[in-house]
């Protein structure tokens, strides 16, 4: 039974689908990274999952059961923009949390606030910078005993030190078995903390998988062909190759799995100087959402 199970989630505003059919299974204790360009539908997905927006279609299960208000006792959500009350102080927000959640630990909240540099808790939220507001919201969320943590851009506006602190908080939660789903533009962070990721674009998931597996499988296999018009028969039809580019004698295959096998094949077909180029998660992400305009010709029927 997965911590979070999303099937066929859809949300349309008029004729525009902000979320266009999302299926996700997130196991318990997993740290799941949600990547995607702005406007991809990540925030809308979070809100639909939590019932804060009425989904047009789809089914969401939390540990096998549909969402009901009591479940929020063990679910924490930090939205993208600040939802704190401008006119209230940080201390009043602590009291607010205490009155609403039984699993909230004010001492831990204060500890985290201090760690993140939110100084005087008597300060009103409107006097805090954007980064400090995010830090406050994060501190309040992590001060609760929870099973599921949903974070929408938890490090936006934070300085690098605080970003690392939040990342460590996520890792600490994960080590205790909490399921964490977080979206971020900081792919380096996702690379570290996330076990699995999904890439969203225009309301759909265009890539999904375990980070280690994606990195192990998605590589560029490069080979040098003997001559400009040397033909490589049938390579393009290999299902493991997402894209094949040729620039004169240089042949590059963007593969999705088994790069070594592809390299063998290319070698057997006559290519030399075989190189397998590693791709960082950022490379993989960028290639998924915005494939490089081919400087080479896209190979067809080669």
């Amino acid at each position: 039974m997965n911590a979070l199970s999303i099937a066929g989630l859809r949300k349309t505003y008029g004729s525009v689908a902000a979320v266009d059919g999302i299926d996700l299974e997130i196991p318990k204790g997993c740290v799941f990274g949600l990547l995607g360009p702005n406007g991809a539908g990540k925030s809308t997905t979070f809100k639909c999952v939590l019932g804060l927006i009425r989904a047009s279609a789809g089914r969401v299960l939390f540990a096998g059961a549909p969402l009901e208000p009591g479940a929020f006792e063990r679910i924490a959500y930090v939205p993208e923009r600040s939802v704190l009350y401008d006119w209230m102080s940080v201390r009043e927000h602590i009291a607010y949390m205490q009155s609403n959640f039984s699993g909230f630990d004010p001492a831990r909240a204060r500890e985290l606030l201090a760690q993140l540099g939110v100084g005087d808790e008597r300060k009103k939220v409107r006097a805090l910078s954007k980064g400090m507001r995010t830090a406050t919201a994060v501190a309040l969320a992590f001060a609760r005993r929870i099973d599921l943590l949903l974070l929408d851009e938890p490090t936006s506006g934070l300085d690098p030190v605080n970003q690392r602190t939040v990342l460590n908080l996520i890792i600490n939660e994960a080590a205790q078995g909490t399921t964490v789903v977080f979206s971020s533009h900081q792919i380096g962070q996702v690379e570290r903390a996330a076990e699995r990721i999904a890439v969203m674009q225009r309301g759909r998931i265009i890539l999904e998988g375990v980070v280690d597996d994606l990195k192990a499988g998605r590589k560029i296999v490069e080979g040098i062909l003997p001559s400009d018009d040397f033909s490589i028969n049938g390579l393009a039809s290999d299902a493991r190759i997402a894209r094949l580019e040729r620039n004169g004698r240089i042949l590059r295959a963007y593969v999705t799995e088994q790069p070594d096998a592809i390299a063998e094949r290319m070698s057997a077909l006559g290519a030399q100087g075989l190189r397998v180029v590693d791709l960082s998660l950022e490379d993989i992400f960028l290639d998924a959402v915005a494939p490089k305009a081919a400087t080479a010709s896209i190979v067809e029927g080669v």
């Binding site: 809100k47 208000p69 006792e73 939802v83 607010y96 959640f101």
Partner: protein, 344 residues
């Protein structure tokens, strides 16, 4: 109790308390600048200085000061009994003028609690009683207006949550209905508490002038009930109007008062023009769902005597209060139903 609504409510109460305290302070300052005797505040005092006036002062066995002013030329006799802080009475007797009907005597600045006039056997006599018993309901009438202001300010509870806080408000282990109910309950508590403060301040203000002896009558019950129900219905109406709004809700509230107050006026337009007639009919109908209109059932002229007050409690007040109660429940219910469906 909802924490945020309670916090906002507490601030409002403190602000109200400060305003009331300042008003009391001003009142105290003015009171201290006034001469002690109440009877001397009255404009009848001027009559004592008229030509030919015969003024007699006596001290009664109970310590009260009795002043008799006779104006022989006008056949007028003024008897003023001043018991200082405990109040007093002023009785004016004079021949009735031809075709005169009993009218209320004018008086000055002092606190007239009740007055009567009658004409009998050609003699017109009017009597003003100072420092008599004050019906508690009298203070409640003033409290209703404070309650309406507080209700107006609290009525944006849902709308202000919609304005960027729903991710926090609704991501709680409590159903939306319960969240709404808690907010409404907290706001109602704020309204009632500020009204209670106002009544207390009112009594304190009275106590600066006369001994505050309070009376409770059926009128009291009516006004106290109205003090809870009318602001509640007003709160409910504005809450319902703004429950689904995320922006621009201030305008709705700002327009509500002029419209609500203006409706009775518009409803009394006499015109044969179909367009105006239509507006008139519409206004007359809308009046019945306007909580402010029901104030007429409980607001009375402060000059009326205790006897008049009792007659206020009648069938019409019963139905008025029942209608307001229904309005309150319907408005709040509609507001809560709307808020259930709001999206973050």
């Amino acid at each position: 109790m909802d924490y945020v609504a309670a916090l906002r409510g507490r601030r409002l109460m403190i602000a109200t308390a400060i305003v009331l305290a300042v008003a009391l302070l001003v009142s105290a300052v003015i009171r201290m600048a006034m001469p002690h005797s109440l009877a001397s505040d009255l404009s009848f005092d001027n009559m004592a200085h008229e030509k030919g006036a015969i003024v007699t002062h006596t001290i009664l066995p109970n310590g009260a000061k009795k002043t008799v002013t006779v104006l022989p030329k006008k056949h007028t006799r003024i008897v003023a009994i001043d018991r200082g802080y405990l109040g007093g009475t002023v009785t004016i007797t004079r021949p009735a003028r031809k075709g005169e009907r009993p009218t209320k005597p004018t008086h000055g600045f002092s606190f007239a609690i009740s007055s009567t006039t009658k004409t009998k056997d050609g003699i017109h006599s009017s009597s003003i009683r100072l420092g008599g018993r004050t019906d508690l309901g009298f203070f409640s009438v003033f409290a209703i207006f404070v309650g309406l202001i507080v209700a107006t300010m609290r009525a944006l509870s849902f709308a202000s949550e919609n304005d960027g806080h729903l991710e926090m408000t609704f991501a709680r282990p409590v159903s939306r209905e319960l969240v709404a109910l808690r907010i409404v309950a907290t706001d109602m508590l704020t309204i009632v508490a500020t009204e209670a403060l106002t009544i207390v301040a009112g009594i304190a203000g009275l106590a600066m002038y006369v001994f505050p002896s309070l009376a409770i009558s059926p009128y009291t019950a009516a006004v106290l009930l109205a003090a809870v129900l009318i602001p509640m219905a007003w709160y409910g109406m504005l809450l319902c109007a703004t429950a689904s709004m995320k922006r621009g809700y201030g305008i709705v509230v700002g327009l509500a008062w002029p419209i609500a107050l203006g409706l009775p006026g518009v409803a009394s337009i006499q015109s044969s023009l179909p367009f105006l007639r239509g507006i008139q009919v519409l206004s007359a109908t809308l009046m019945h769902i306007d909580p402010l209109w029901y104030l007429h059932a409980v607001t009375i002229n402060s000059d009326e005597s205790m006897k008049d007050l009792a007659s206020v409690w009648s069938r019409s007040t019963d139905t008025a209060l029942l209608s307001v109660a229904i309005l309150a429940v319907v408005y709040i219910g509609a507001a809560m139903l709307q808020w259930r469906r709001v999206e973050a």
